[in-house]
Amino acid sequence: MQQEASARGEPAGVATMQFRQGSAIRQLWETNLEVFQRDRMALFGLCIFAVFAIVAIFAPQIAPNNPLTPLKNNEGDWIKDAMPYWLAEPGEDEAEGYTNTFLLGTTNIGRDIYSQLIHGSRSALLVGFSAAAAVAVIGTVVGLLAGYYGGWVDAILMRAADVAFGIPFIPFIIVVSAFLDPSIWNVVVAMAVLLWRDTGRVIRSQVLVIKEQAFVSAARVSGASNLRIIFVYIAPSILPLSFLYGSFAIAWAILTEASVSFLGFSDPETISWGFMLQDAFNSLALSREAFYWIVPPGLCIMLTVMAGFFIGRGYEEVLFPRLRRM
C-alpha cells in the first residue's frame, strides 16, 4: 500500500507509518502460521489438540454421568462391570434393573468409563500445557541469561542443569508425590524443576551464536542496554525454539502424568487417563478382556502425545530446513 501511496505522490510520512504497527508480534504470528501451513502433520496435531481442548472445556456438558460417582440400579446396587450397550446381551440390563446406555461400559465399582474418558482430557491438557509452559519459560530464561551473560552466571546455571540431568525423572516425581499431597500438580512441579534443562541448554547454545552476530554488537554500540539486547534482539530469534521444546514438553507431561498415575501416585479424586489405566489394571480388566476400558484411555494418551510431537516436528522443519530432505 505504501508504494501505491508514493506513486500517487502522497507525502511519504503518512503512508510509511502504517507498515510498522505491531511488526514484532505480527512476525512471530507469521512464523507460527508458517509452521502449520507448511506441515500438514503439524496441522493435524493442532487439530487433535483443538478437539481435546473443546472436549475438556465442555466436559461436564458432554459427559453423561459424574465420573466419580458409582452408578446404581433400581435396587440401589452398583452397576458393576457393565458391558458397552453395543456389546451387551439384549435384555440383560433390564433383568439387572437398569437401562444400559453406557458407550464404554462401567468400571468394577460402577463408574461410567466414557464419562471418565471425557473428564480425563481435562487433567491431561491441564498438566500438558502448564508443564510445557513452565518448561519453556524457565528453559528460555535460563538459556538467555546463561548464554548472554556467560561467566559465572553461565557457570552456575549450567552446573545446575548438570545436576538436573543427573536426577532420574520418574523416581524424583514419586519422591515429590510422597512429600506433597497427591495431586496432578506434582507432575507439573516436578517437570518444571527438572525438565528446563534440555530447553535451557539448547537455547543457551543458540544465544551464544546470535550474540556474536554483528547486529548485536551494533545494538550495543548504539547504546542499547543488556535487557533490551536480550529481549528485543535475541529473544525473538530463539522463540521458535522455545515453542519447539514446549510442544515436545506437552507430550512428555501427558506421558509422565499417565505413568505416575499408573504407578498409583495420583490423586484418587481426579480422573486422568493414566488413573483409568491403573484402575483397569488393578481390577483385572485385562483378564476379563474388557478392552473397552483399556484401549480408549491408551488411545487418547497416544493421540495427544503424537499431536505434541507432530507440532514439534513442524517447528523443527522450519528451524532446521535441512531435515526436510530426510
Partner: protein, 730 residues
C-alpha cells in the same frame, strides 16, 4: 592443440523459486600449457562451470545442453567410473575454501600417501618418497609430513592442498579462488609457488577468481564472465592494457592500485540480473553507462574484436572512444539501480505509468554525487599541532585476553594463557581525520576497533574521547558517548537484525537515545537513507535485510551508523565481503559523508591500497603494536619498517607486465601469547640485528609525522647483523 574445449554449455539449477540458468551458453578453449584466468563477481557462474567440468554438480544442478571435450573425450558421455578415473589423475581441482578440505583427523602426509597409493598405484615406499618430493616442490618443510592439519598455518594448508592436487601429475589444474581469504604475505607466497610450478611443470591452469590482480600475476589469458556468459576473452597483456567490454572496463577501474592510485574508484552500481529470467537483450545493459536502446533488445554474441580478442558488446566498434570516456568516474555513478534482490526487472520499456516497486529507475545525481575530491590523501599533517580539534587520544593502550581459564578450565587443569591482543599502542585522531589500521590477521587491528567504540574495555592505558577518559565514564556519559561513536561492520549480511525491517533497524538507535516523536524519527531515517544514496528512501523502509544486495545492505549499515550524526566512525573491513564492482561505491559514499559531516574515521583493513585510497594517515600493526604510522602517501611510497616494506611488496600488481618481486620474509605470524624484550618483528625480519633481540626499538619520526618503530633508523643502526639461519636455529 586444445586440451579442454567447451561448446555452448548450459547448466540449470532447479530451485523452489524457479530454474536458475547459472551457466547459459559458455564456449571456451584451453590450450596445452595455457593459463587462463576466469574473472567475475559472485553468482556469475564461475564455480558452476568448474563443477560442470569435473561433473560434481549438486543434485539440483543439471547440464541442459552443450559439450565438454577433454583431450578429445566427451566428458558428458563418459561413464561415471571412467570420469572418476579422470578426476585427479587428469583434471585436478583446488576447491574453494580448500584449506578446510584436509581431513582433520589424519596426518597431512598420510592423506597424501593414501592418495598416491590408492589412485596412483604407488608402493608404500615410493609413495613416501613422492610425498616428500611434493612437500619440497610446494615449499613445505618435509619434517612436517606427519603433522596434523591443525598444526599447519593457513598458508601451509594451502600449500599442502596444492601438493595433493599435483600429486598424480594432472594435465589440467583448476583452482577456485586459491588465495582468497589469505593474508597478503601468504597470498604472495602461494602465488609465487603457483607461478613457479607453472613454469617448472608446464602446467595447464584454469584459475577462477574475482581478483584481477591475481590473474595478472599468474595467468597469460583472461575470460570475463558475467551473468552466466563469457563477455570478453583476451590475452592477459592486451586485456589489462585495453579492456574491450564495458564490464571489464568497470572492473579494472574499480580496483585500487598501490602503484598508480586513482583519485576516484569506479563503482558498477546495481547487481547482475536475475538468472531465472535473464533479460532479452544484453545482460549488462542495466548497469552499463554506455547503454543504448538496442542493448535492451539485441543479445550480443562473442565476436572477434581484434587480434585474438573476443567481446560481446554491441558497441565494440566504438570501444576506443568508450574507453576514453570510461576514465571519467562520474560517468559510472549516473547509473543507479533500485531493483531489489529476487525481483526480475520489468520487461516493458513503457515509462510513465504508475511505477511499480522494484522497477529499475535511472536517476541522475545532483550535487550530492560522489564527486572526485581534491587530492584526498595529501592533507598535510603536523604532529602535536592544534590540540583544540583533537578528538581521540590513545595512550599506551593494551588489551589482554585470558584463555583456558574459568571453572571448566580449572577443573580440567588447563593452564591459563594470556593473549596480548593489543600492546601499548598510542595515537591521536583529530576531528574529521581518517586513519587506516592495517596488518595481517591476528595483529590486533579489530581489537583496537572494538576498544575505540568501547565494545570491550582496555586492560591498561587510557582512551580519551573529546576530553573524557573512557575508563571512568558513568552510565549517562556512556550513553552520550554511544550517540557520538559508531561502528560499521565487515559482513553486511550479519550486521542487521534479520527480523527487523530496515526502518526498525535504523530507528532503534534513535529510540534508545530518546527520540520520542515518531515523525521526527521517520524524517531522520529517510534523510539518512537518502544521504547514503538509497533512493527513493521510502522504498526501503519496510524491506527486510534478505531482500537487499550486499552493497545495498552495507549502505544501510552505514546509514544506521550515521543516523545519530556521530563524530567518530570505526569501519572494520567495510567492503571486504562485497564484490569488487560495488566496493568503490561504499568507499566513495563513506568518504564523502565523512567530509560532509566532519566525521573522524578509523578504517580497519588488510588491504593497503584501499586504505591509501580512503585515509589521511595509515598505521601498520604487528602483533598488537603499531610499528609504523604516518601520512598515507608517505607510508605507502616510503615505507620505513621492514614489515611495512614486505606488506607493500606483497600486494599483487594488476599488471601482467610487472611481476611482484620475491619477499624476504617468512610467512606465519607467531602466536600472540609471547611477550618480547626486543622488537616483536625480529623473528621474521630480514634486517634483524643483535640489538633487535634485546632492546625495544623506539619510535623515530621525521618532520612529516611519519614514525617507525625500528632500530634501523636509531642509535642501534650499526648493531651487527644476524643471519637468518642462526635465528631459525635458536
Amino acid at each position: 592443440m586444445s586440451i579442454l574445449s567447451i561448446r555452448d554449455l548450459k547448466v540449470n539449477y532447479h530451485t523452489q523459486d524457479g530454474t536458475v540458468r547459472a551457466v547459459d551458453g559458455v564456449s571456451l578453449d584451453l590450450d596445452e600449457s595455457q593459463r587462463l584466468g576466469l574473472i567475475g563477481e559472485s553468482g556469475c557462474g564461475k564455480t558452476t562451470l568448474l563443477k560442470a567440468i569435473v561433473q560434481v554438480l549438486p543434485r539440483n544442478g543439471h547440464i541442459v545442453s552443450g559439450e565438454i571435450k577433454f583431450k578429445g573425450m566427451d566428458l558428458l558421455k563418459l561413464p561415471p567410473a571412467e570420469m572418476r578415473q579422470l578426476r585427479w589423475r587428469e583434471i585436478a581441482t583446488i576447491p574453494q575454501a580448500s584449506m578446510d578440505s584436509l581431513n582433520p583427523v589424519q596426518r597431512v602426509g598420510s592423506q597424501l600417501m593414501k592418495l598416491l597409493r590408492v589412485r596412483g598405484g604407488y608402493t608404500k615406499k615410493a609413495a613416501r618418497k613422492r610425498a616428500v618430493d611434493l612437500f619440497d616442490v610446494v615449499g613445505l618443510d618435509t619434517e612436517r609430513l606427519m603433522h596434523y592439519p591443525h598444526e599447519f598455518s593457513g598458508g601451509m594448508k594451502q600449500r599442502a592442498v596444492i601438493a595433493m592436487a599435483l600429486a598424480l601429475e594432472p594435465s589440467l589444474l583448476i583452482a577456485d579462488e586459491p588465495v582468497t581469504a589469505l593474508d597478503v604475505i601468504v597470498q604472495h607466497q602461494i602465488l609465487e609457488v603457483l607461478r613457479r610450478l607453472e613454469r617448472e611443470l608446464n602446467l595447464t591452469v584454469m584459475l577462477i577468481t574475482h581478483d584481477i590482480s591475481v590473474v595478472a600475476q599468474v595467468c597469460d589469458s583472461v575470460s570475463v564472465m558475467y551473468a552466466g556468459r563469457i563477455v570478453e576473452e583476451a590475452k592477459a597483456e592486451p586485456f589489462f592494457a585495453s579492456p574491450a567490454h564495458p564490464y571489464s572496463l568497470g572492473l579494472q577501474q574499480a580496483f585500487p592500485n598501490l602503484a598508480s592510485p586513482r583519485d576516484v574508484l569506479v563503482s558498477i552500481e546495481g547487481y547482475p540480473p536475475d538468472l531465472r529470467e535473464p533479460p532479452a537483450g544484453c545482460r549488462f545493459a542495466e548497469r552499463c553507462p554506455f547503454v543504448q536502446e538496442t542493448c535492451h533488445e539485441i543479445d550480443p554474441q562473442l565476436e572477434v574484436v581484434g587480434d585474438g580478442r573476443m567481446a560481446a558488446c554491441l558497441r565494440s566498434n566504438e570501444m576506443d572512444d568508450l574507453r576514453a570516456r570510461a576514465e571519467d568516474p562520474t560517468l559510472w555513478q549516473n547509473v543507479e539501480v533500485t531493483r531489489l534482490v529476487g525481483q526480475p526487472p520489468t520487461k516493458s520499456t513503457d515509462a510513465g505509468r504508475g511505477e511499480p516497486l522494484g522497477r529499475p529507475t535511472i536517476t541522475t545525481h545532483d550535487e550530492q554525487a560522489d564527486q572526485p575530491l581534491a587530492d584526498p590523501c595529501n592533507v598535510p599533517l603536523a604532529v602535536g599541532n592544534g590540540r583544540a580539534d583533537l578528538l581521540l587520544e590513545m595512550n599506551d593502550v593494551s588489551k589482554r585476553f585470558k584463555i583456558g581459564g574459568g571453572l571448566a578450565g580449572l577443573l580440567r587443569g588447563d593452564k591459563e594463557q594470556t593473549v596480548y591482543a593489543v600492546n601499548n599502542i598510542s595515537f591521536t585522531l583529530r576531528r574529521g581525520e581518517s586513519l587506516g589500521l592495517a596488518g595481517e590477521s591476528g595483529c590486533g587491528k579489530s581489537t583496537t576497533g572494538k576498544l575505540l567504540v568501547k565494545l570491550i574495555d582496555a586492560s591498561d592505558g587510557q582512551i580519551v574521547f573529546d576530553g573524557a577518559d573512557l575508563s571512568s565514564v558513568d552510565d549517562k556519559e556512556l550513553l552520550g558517548f554511544r550517540s557520538r561513536v559508531q561502528l560499521m561492520f565487515q559482513n553486511p549480511f550479519e550486521a542487521l537484525n534479520p527480523r527487523f525491517t530496515l526502518y526498525r533497524s535504523l530507528t532503534e538507535p534513535l529510540i534508545i537515545h530518546g527520540w520520542k516523536d515518531e515523525n521526527e524519527r521517520l524524517q531522520r531515517v529517510v534523510e539518512t537513507l537518502d544521504r547514503v544514496n538509497l533512493r527513493p528512501a521510502e522504498v526501503f523502509l519496510d524491506k527486510y535485510p534478505h531482500q537487499l544486495s550486499g552493497g545495498q545492505l552495507q549502505r544501510v549499515v552505514l546509514a544506521r551508523a550515521l543516523v545519530l550524526h556521530p563524530d567518530f566512525l570505526v569501519a572494520d573491513e567495510p567492503v571486504s565481503m562485497l564484490d569488487v564492482s560495488v566496493r568503490a561505491g561504499i568507499l566513495n559514499t563513506t568518504r564523502r559523508l565523512a567530509r560532509e559531516l566532519g566525521l573522524a574515521t578509523v578504517y580497519i583493513s588488510h588491504d593497503l591500497s584501499l586504505l591509501q585510497y580512503t585515509c589521511d594517515r595509515i598505521a601498520i600493526m604487528y602483533l598488537g603494536e603499531i610499528v609504523e604510522i604516518g601520512p598515507s602517501n608517505e607510508v605507502i611510497n616510503k615505507p620505513q619498517h621492514p614489515y611495512t616494506q614486505a606488506l607493500i611488496a606483497a600486494v599483487p600488481v594488476p599488471d601482467p607486465t610487472i611481476e611482484n618481486p620475491p619477499l624476504r620474509i617468512r610467512e606465519g605470524v607467531p602466536r600472540p601469547t609471547e611477550q618480547f624484550i626486543g622488537c616483536p618483528f625480529a623473528q621474521r625480519c630480514p634486517e634483524v640485528m643483535e640489538a633487535c633481540l634485546n632492546v625495544r626499538p623506539p619510535f623515530i619520526a621525521d618532520e612529516q609525522g611519519h614514525q617507525a618503530q625500528c632500530h634501523l633508523y636509531g642509535e642501534h643502526h650499526n648493531s651487527p647483523k644476524l643471519h637468518r639461519e642462526a635465528e631459525a636455529a635458536r
